[in-house]
Assembly symmetry: D2
């Protein structure tokens, strides 16, 4: 699958998903979100739920790239630590890699960055339940 095909899948199926796919690799992917005023909270930082949403989306993209475009993959657990204050005027970037691809569960690790910054703004680990036969 190319990243254009994956991007098209999200445009068709999840039109409200506002992110761009930068890279799709073997059990890894990088996506980005343009930060706008509506994503900020007082103090000029990106809101926590925007970061959670992007982390979850990065997991979903990476998992679909592994198992194919099945709609049935669902998040069962997400654990997120907020590490540093994100920049309000930079894109938010999520780098995901899968750490376990099992028959029923797939687990991945996501680092979130403000573009151009070295220290991550958040780190998440998420589990998806996937259809058993694929």
């Amino acid at each position: 699958m190319t990243k254009e095909q994956m991007q098209q899948f999200f445009a068709d199926e999840f039109p409200q998903a506002e992110f761009t796919i930068d890279e799709l690799g073997h059990r890894c992917a990088t996506i980005r979100k343009h930060i706008e005023f509506k994503h900020l909270r007082p103090g000029g930082t990106v809101s926590g739920p925007v970061m959670m949403e992007l982390a979850d989306a990065a997991l979903y993209v990476t998992i679909l790239n592994e198992i194919g475009l099945v709609a049935l993959a669902v998040t069962t657990n997400l654990n997120i630590n907020f590490l540093n204050k994100p920049e309000s005027e930079k894109d938010l970037i999520a780098e995901c890699k899968l750490i376990k691809v099992g028959k029923a569960l797939i687990i991945g690790d996501v680092y979130l960055y403000s573009e151009g910054k070295e220290d991550p703004v958040a780190h998440a680990v998420g589990t998806y339940s996937v259809p058993p036969k694929r």
Copy 2:
């Protein structure tokens, strides 16, 4: 603080926060969100990020009710398990209670329900970092 005052605080400071406060109690609170089409994902269920956002908001409301309307409380960790498929046509309700009120960290537990259903749709535990002197 009354729930009307708390609701007004969110209307002023977080106009994009779309929830209503049902109850404010001692170290507990219940809030609700009206589910609209934009909150759904394919299959007619509420999207995970909408649930994460409401769980985080329930923690924030309950913590502000405990420590006063300081803007400096920030989420440091959120762990969420998705338990059952939410209903697309019911309000989503979040019941939070605090399980630790420390000097620097406050931890709370949140159950999310589709209105009128007994089984929770999700369960979250979150930690906020709060200003040390208050």
Copy 3:
């Protein structure tokens, strides 16, 4: 199943499991561990891994009571927050209740207490993977 039968199962299968079952109920259980010198860390408090072990054991007991004495239930995720310093001279008590009993995953919530104290010393949420046909 009676708690004596469950206790016997652990004595036979997990002889190193050092806890006593106080109560077995519908999707809930309470177990306790006698704290000895070997369970302490400097400062006279119970070590974190002892608490993690008891939380995991409480989940296992509660889940086996639900699904029968199958050996195949395994922990897939455990999230624990340490809340208050446990007492070195009190039994450690774990109260577990199941919050989701699914076909493949069972999730439970555990509060740990030093006996006789009202505030919990830790709170855990754990997920077990269970055999699909039972």
Copy 4:
């Protein structure tokens, strides 16, 4: 600090801590535990609590290497995912790296391996509360 000094600190202060320090680096460390019969559970696999204990110890070693040998660092949160069945006859190895070194909280990421195997057996993320002035 050398790894011999760190090892000596654990021998003095935590004599029950049964692990060896393989490497100490900048914000990272690798430790190992020799697996014995008492660490196994039925089916010939390493018990979950043994893995949780080693993950927590790896975090503690890495954090002490960063902040000095202060006894006051305590775990506040640990989230662990069990990924693959560990080998009963191999050492268990924990590789930790710190992902956030803050004034009050330090967060690290730990992968656990059975020696010689490529796929991790578990992955943990843990938070320690550390003394504010150091």
